[in-house]
Amino acid sequence: MPEPTDRIPPEARDAVGSAAGGAAGLATREAESLEGGPVPGTARSAKARSLWTDAWHDLRRNPVFVLSALVIVFLLLIAVWPSLVAGGNPLQCDLAKSQEGPQAGHPFGFDAQGCDVFTRTVHGARASITVGVCATAGAALLGSVLGGLAGYYGGWWDAVLSRLADVFFGIPIILGGLVFLSVVTGRSVWPVVGFIVLLGWPQISRIARGAVVAAKQHDYVQAARALGAGDARLLLRHIAPNAVAPVIVVATIALGTYIALEATLSFIGVGLRPPTVSWGIDISNASTQIRNAPHMLLWPAGALSLTVLAFIMLGDAVRDALDPKLR
């Protein structure tokens, strides 16, 4: 209930009137010189704005974001419906055409088995992007939650978690892959995703822990605590937005690594198995033939690079949009 005492007494306003005039007037002038560009200023000042609405407002106007988002949407589309782009069957191969170059109807040429590289590249998107995106999302989520909590609460929880992360960090990929994945039967991508998350979260958790430890020392976190804010509010509203930038950077770079990691696992025979098609499998197959058939490597590797680049650019744009100082 608004009590009368909650109102600001008129004498207080009078009292600060002189200071207000001077400082506020100058503030306007100073801020004008600061902003310069088409910063969303007084025009939309009537509406309450927050970091997220401002970030979205910025992103929509950022060509880097729009371009990378378009690329990602396109990649997701072909991952879901590959036949929209490439109608052929990636498993229908003709050994007679082994390693032949581009020709009519087959713009990317053929691989060693005589399969159409174009069709395989398009159909490979599903497995590769599923592994890349899901493993990154999983590792980022698990890593930042565990690392964030370790950094926030500290103490024995931090000690246990950091040691646990060290243990997973120390597992060699090949050996770990052989042990973990050989016990799994079935050919779906999910065991592979699970394995990569298991190996990938410690990296993110270290970064997240460090960022949270740095962010929580700021006075604004103390100020919110002094106001009576609970742990959830402190973490979600004050610490997370200020700790998320390094996590975004590392996660977007990890995305490419994870897609390549899937290839390694497939190469040693514990990852995806035919008939699953993936860029990783194609890249590792092509890498032995690089001298006589470079086009076999070029297209799946190019698709992988494009994907990684798009996510890295998206990550950069989001990170910058979440930093009001860069506006």
Binding site: A19, A27, A223, A224, R225, A226, P241, D323, P324
Partner: protein, 349 residues
């Protein structure tokens, strides 16, 4: 002000030790940093209590204890007669409404990723009963106006403001819940001189308008004198001397206060020749290993054996008791005396 008003905060025997530990897996305590080591005082309604001391004397820890950012190792902080140091949950949250803090560094005390409207409005989100949802935005605008900022800037981010303006934002946040007590930890020391005066004046006006009690923590003795009704001098976790501003600044009886005051440069070149400086030897000892007896004895020119053996109590010195003079205020020194007075022991230089 009303120096004889009722006490809003009563601090009794407040102690905060930070354990020093060793070992990786099995931690054992090897000692403690005695940041605050037995501090008692009252804060009266509507008054400003200045707390001065050098870095490491525990004044910032004291401030954090007062607003319940830290739990004391021992002692009580009573707000309206109720000990708030053991509260938790709902009761603690209710008390927080009434005791707020203004921080030192205007660059780290505001979340860079929140708009000014969100920063000043956050108290209402945490305490929804303080303002109905629809009225919050308007209240934030009023607060901006009260602290001398343009209400139109409600959607700006902290980095778009100067240091002094940011400190005003911090003050507005502290005021939002209409607290009774504001603990200000070095609120102007990061600001330029000309801006410092604006913020000090603002704090004084707000105190009168909102009937606030301040605990004003600072190392700048001049600013503290300007704003305070009473002053507490702190050294190595303990209070050395407490009195009204005139008692402390014109009739200090503790040698540390005297040395501190004599070291402050006065913006008056003619005072250069007149001043008698007491140059203290050495640095403040480590609070992890404070001297026995009187904490100040290692740097004190009056120190005798008694000072190493007995902790001087914070009382009105016997020789001044009942005189009613300005020197009759509490001072934790076995040999308390006004500077230059007979019985001042050795020469003060």
């Amino acid at each position: 002000m009303r120096p004889d008003g009722e006490a809003v905060l009563e601090v009794r025997g407040l102690v905060k030790h930070y354990p020093l530990t060793q070992g990786v897996l099995v931690r054992r305590q090897v000692g403690a940093v005695r940041a605050v080591d037995g501090v008692s005082f009252d804060l009266r309604r509507g008054e400003t209590l200045g707390v001065v001391g050098e870095s490491g004397c525990g004044k910032s820890t004291l401030g954090r204890l007062l607003v319940n950012l830290e739990r004391p190792t021992a002692g009580e902080i009573r707000y309206r007669g109720e000990d708030i140091t053991r509260l938790s949950g709902r009761a603690l949250k209710a008390v927080r409404r009434n005791i707020q803090m203004v921080f030192q560094d205007p660059y780290t005390s505001l979340n860079p990723r929140m708009t000014v409207g969100d920063i000043i409005g956050e108290p209402y989100e945490i305490h929804p009963e303080a303002a109905p949802k629809g009225s919050r935005r308007q209240k934030v605008r009023e607060l901006l106006e009260v602290v001398g900022l343009n209400p139109e800037h409600i959607n700006r981010y902290p980095h778009q403001f100067s240091g002094g303006q940011r400190q005003r934002i911090g003050i507005a946040r502290g005021l939002a819940l209409r607290p009774e007590v504001i603990v200000a930890d070095e609120p102007v020391s990061a600001l330029d001189v000309s801006v410092q005066a604006q913020v000090v004046n603002l704090l004084e006006r707000l105190q009168a308008a909102f009937d606030l009690s301040y605990v004003f923590i600072a190392h700048d003795l001049s600013v503290v004198r300007h704003i305070s009704d009473r002053v507490a001098v702190m050294y190595l976790g303990r209070l050395a001397e407490v009195g009204t501003d005139a008692q402390i600044y014109e009739h200090p009886t503790h040698p540390y206060t005297q040395a501190l005051l004599s070291a402050v440069p006065v913006p008056d070149p003619d005072a250069r020749a007149r001043r008698e400086r007491i140059l203290l030897l050495g640095d403040i000892p480590s609070p992890a290993n404070p001297p026995s007896g009187c904490r100040f004895r290692t740097r004190c020119w009056k120190a005798q054996r008694k000072c190493a053996e007995e902790v001087p109590p914070l009382v009105v010195p016997e020789r001044f008791r009942g005189t009613g003079g300005p020197a009759a205020h509490v001072s934790a020194c076995h040999f308390a005396a006004e500077p230059g007075a007979p019985g001042d022991g050795e020469d003060a230089t």
